[in-house]
Symmetry: C2
Subunit: 160 residues, 2 copies
């Protein structure tokens, strides 16, 4: 089956809206953490919410830019050196704008081209993008548990 000409299930515009909807929810989850717990609270030896967010930030906007530029720059989880929750939220908003801008550069054909993201993940672009989204949902689900363990009610999952 020719993936470029068969009828459309998800198009580029819809996928961006879907991702940014999830990113909007993740922002609310980050913001729900008290400052100290964002950097310190953990369960079962897992990473803190700040560390999980650093990974999401290092993956989303920079990865999309790498895809657009076809640059195999290595992954760097701590590329931003953020030190307060406010700095994380500011970087989050910058990333939102960067993702929107770089998304415009992607043609439908680009999604199906194989690209070696970070010099490590040699897959069709669509698979790498879905990985960013799924990875964010996964780690945000973990942050929901951290919030619940702290006695804080997280936002509704369907609130985007």
């Amino acid at each position: 089956m020719d993936t470029l000409t068969t009828p459309q299930v998800i198009n580029s515009e819809y996928l961006l809206k879907h991702w940014q909807g999830h990113r909007n929810l993740t922002r609310k989850v980050i913001d729900a953490f008290p400052e100290n717990h964002f950097f310190e609270f953990t369960i079962g030896g897992m990473r803190t919410a700040a560390q999980l967010t650093a990974e999401i930030l290092a993956m989303g906007a920079p990865a999309l830019k790498s895809i657009v530029d076809r640059s195999e720059e290595p992954f760097s989880e701590n590329r931003f050196n953020l030190e307060t929750k406010a700095e994380y939220l500011t970087k989050w908003d910058e990333s939102t704008a960067a993702i929107n801008a770089n998304w415009e550069e992607l043609s439908a054909q680009d999604f199906h081209e194989t690209f070696n993201l970070f010099g490590l993940y040699n897959f069709p672009v669509i698979q790498n993008i879905q990985y960013f989204i799924d990875n964010e949902i996964h780690h945000r689900g973990q942050m929901f548990v951290y919030l619940r363990a702290l006695g804080i009610t997280p936002p509704f999952f369907w609130e985007r």
Copy 2:
């Protein structure tokens, strides 16, 4: 923009493969729980892994069948009355086959039709299907935390 004729980013076959890949990982996570903890362990007043799995099972295959049949049957989280982890896994595998079979009945046009799932969620079919997948990733992320809190190493996130 006409969503049915613009170039394809995600097609039906790919989306099914993506969902079943996630379902395969969720099955491994369920299987990683000791029997008692699957039904009893919880953090911060959240639902147990068994209750989260019951929701995923009640949503996936039955919802897809409702979509195919255009039946607005209400959602029932405990529709299966499963009592052991083995029963959950058996129902999981039955659901895998049912999803594959019902997926064949969906045309590309169907994904864009609005349908009132469970008599409650009146959205385009593609949005409801993405909700099942995202909801599963979200709750499975929470089960990862439960496993870590129990000192059990979960499967790799990218293992599908």
